[in-house]
Symmetry: C2
Subunit: 421 residues, 2 copies
């Protein structure tokens, strides 16, 4: 409060954090937005980077660019480590940041459910780096499989791509992989594509849990038509980088396991002075304040927060609309507190329904119920509108159209080859 203005600190430049900073930017306050990355990541399209459809800079937008004209928004690139609520400071790997009001919007990370071996060898699907890593690896495996000295077993193992988790990420990733393979088929003149397979593994009896049952079935049908082997009620118990082990005892030789089976809150949440749910999300009150906040000035929103009140059976899902809607309420409530009004608003979630794409020209939308090409167009429009930056809206639209028509995939580049070997 060096200049007398209330100091708002926001942790996380995801959908919730950016929205919040934009709302506060119009107020007479100083805002510091903290993120370990210098970009906002459009996570719903991460699978398109991992399958070489989009470039990284089409889904990653520099955080500072959102606030060019907002001189009261300061970006601070650092990894948040914890909160000292008694002293009103956020602890980071670049020092302490004091706050009058703190909002945690730090998001989630991959949940490997304690399976260390899987964590070590499978690919997560939450960060830009992970997506690029998957792209490099998958494209490289094709090159490796194409070498004449491979044994048939080795070749097949490298051409088996397993996605674990039947949520939107897993479904979209599996669908996109089959399309990537179709394009590779045109360019590997000697490789036997009968060896190539994509497997989607899901522990429960259904994919896309948030969808009505008929659309779940439709999704499986479309995936299978695209060549994905869908294994429902199948549990993974281990993966050593070579062989995926299922609870049934079945073993699947594969060099690629993409883990989209669950998320948990980032580790930071344990060190914020609140109580956390089993998946690490911090419990928040109906007014979005962290439960038991010492000075009544720490809030949490979005994926990192567990919101469950009234007759709800489980906390709100970890989806963007929860974060952006909560951002509005958190902004209102903090502005009330700044003005001395302690009569805070309760958050009420308005469910906008779910959508998922299964491949180019194929999607399912929960409400209003849609499937096929029409659903895909709706999915495309909704995602295009929300992408940051006018240039990107335009080029991504062109890329998708182009990809729909001719199946071009420009991003099939391996950029992590060690140059000295």
């Amino acid at each position: 409060m060096s200049n007398g203005k209330p100091k708002i600190v926001i942790v996380g430049g995801g959908f919730g954090g950016i929205k919040l900073a934009k709302l506060f930017a119009k107020e007479n306050v100083d805002i510091t937005l903290v993120d370990r990355h210098n970009f906002h990541l459009f996570q719903p399209l991460l699978y398109q980077v991992s399958t070489a459809v989009l470039s990284e800079d089409e889904i990653a937008y520099p955080i500072r660019s959102f606030f060019r004209s907002n001189k009261n928004v300061n970006f601070f690139m650092a990894k948040a480590k914890g909160v000292d609520q008694a002293r009103n400071v956020l602890l980071t790997n670049h020092g302490e940041i004091s706050y009058d009001y703190l909002i945690l919007a730090a998001g989630t990370t991959t949940n490997f459910f304690g399976m260390k071996e899987v964590e070590e060898h499978a690919f997560g699907m939450k960060s830009l780096q992970e997506a690029l890593h998957i792209r490099n690896h998958v494209i490289h495996e094709f090159e490796r499989a194409d070498k004449p000295y491979r044994t048939p077993e080795d070749r097949k193992k490298r051409m088996t791509f397993v996605v674990v988790g039947g949520g939107p990420t897993g479904v979209e990733e599996a669908g996109a992989l089959t399309e990537l393979i179709e394009i590779q088929k045109k360019e590997f003149h000697h490789l036997d594509f009968n060896d190539v397979q994509v497997i989607l593994i899901e522990a429960t009896p259904r994919v896309l849990p948030m969808m009505p049952e008929d659309l779940q079935k439709e999704t499986v049908r479309v995936l299978e038509k695209k060549g994905v082997r869908v294994m429902l009620e199948t549990q993974v118990v281990g993966y050593d980088g070579d062989v995926l082990k299922l609870k049934s005892g079945v073993e699947i030789p594969t060099t690629t396991v993409i883990w989209a089976a669950g998320v948990r809150a980032v580790d930071l949440m344990k060190n914020c002075g609140g109580e956390c749910a089993r998946d690490g999300r911090i419990w928040i009150e109906e007014n979005l304040m962290v439960r038991g906040a010492v000075n009544q000035n720490v809030f949490a929103i979005g994926d990192c927060a567990a919101f469950m009140h009234g007759d709800m059976k489980r906390p709100l899902p970890t989806v963007a609309p929860v974060a952006t809607q909560q951002a509005k309420t958190a902004h209102k409530n903090i502005m009330k507190l700044i003005k001395g009004d302690t009569n805070l608003e309760k958050f009420v979630y308005k469910d906008l329904g779910a959508m998922a794409t299964i491949g180019r020209g194929e999607a399912v939308v929960g409400s209003p119920k849609m499937k096929g090409f029409l659903a895909w167009c709706a999915w495309m429009l909704v995602h295009l509108i929300r992408l940051a930056g006018a240039h990107t809206n335009f080029t991504v639209a062109i890329k998708w159209t182009w990809n729909l028509i001719s199946g071009v995939r420009l991003g099939r580049i391996i950029d992590n080859i060690k140059l000295d070997t």
Copy 2:
């Protein structure tokens, strides 16, 4: 020759190698194209990736995509290690490849002129990885400099960007850096931009040696107008990652030295059974055959080959037109040999002149002599036409126009943060 067709092996997927494979693809031969990367790199625009103008997949094009419809072209991703001319085999890190005719088109790498310390701490500017590395580093240095705990000296050191080498790459890089800084200025609300400087260091008395003198002077004038400090007749003697040491004794504290001061042939050339020039390029005959080729079936073209005949004072320069023109002659001569005709054609270089851009809207063209916006348009057109892929031609054109008008730079993303720190 398992199927009786002559086996052509090409090392390198640069301008020369791709051209050559395209020419041979129409003949009744089998072609194997070897490259350690799976993409063709459009090197003239590498500086635009390093300064966050273009995405990596706009200048890196999957090699296999060139040969979708050419079933007789096989891509083999491997690092070539040497040639056993007696046995007619190319040695690679993925085994041996036998050939009937071999063409070396392996290109060059950065020449640090034996200064190990500089090599360790400066950035090269020859590979896609190096360009991405520069981008990540430069953008990261801004974030680091912005931290409140920095001393003024530390901040200034991080905001000093030095480019060594006054050839096209150095000039273009220095110009593009000043424009990147202009955009950063809009988004770092607290950083003092008086600390920020770009320095271009050149050992000789002039930049762009291939240009007429008035355009050299014009280039320096434009660079200085853009804020580049141009230091001519200045020699670098050391760099430890912190302080750049000049022969004059002057020391420049800087965390960023981009080395564009020279190239040498890749190490492979030493192991091909020919004689090499001082810069490592293999000497070739007028018919492009490697001097002293044991079985009269090994050729070399482009940057990795030293061609000097008649009244030439130095070998042909390491530029794309030499490589593509030599590709045509090498193709003709090998087809002659296949048909039993040993009366090979002599290569004659047709110099098409040089061009270099100094920044958006500013370029110099040697022949016909042009400068300013008109030259920039010519530069833009020539480069656009040569970029691989219709989609890219289109999106790059849009990006450049957009960048010219509004200075947008989407690629300012740091994607190499270690996630566990």
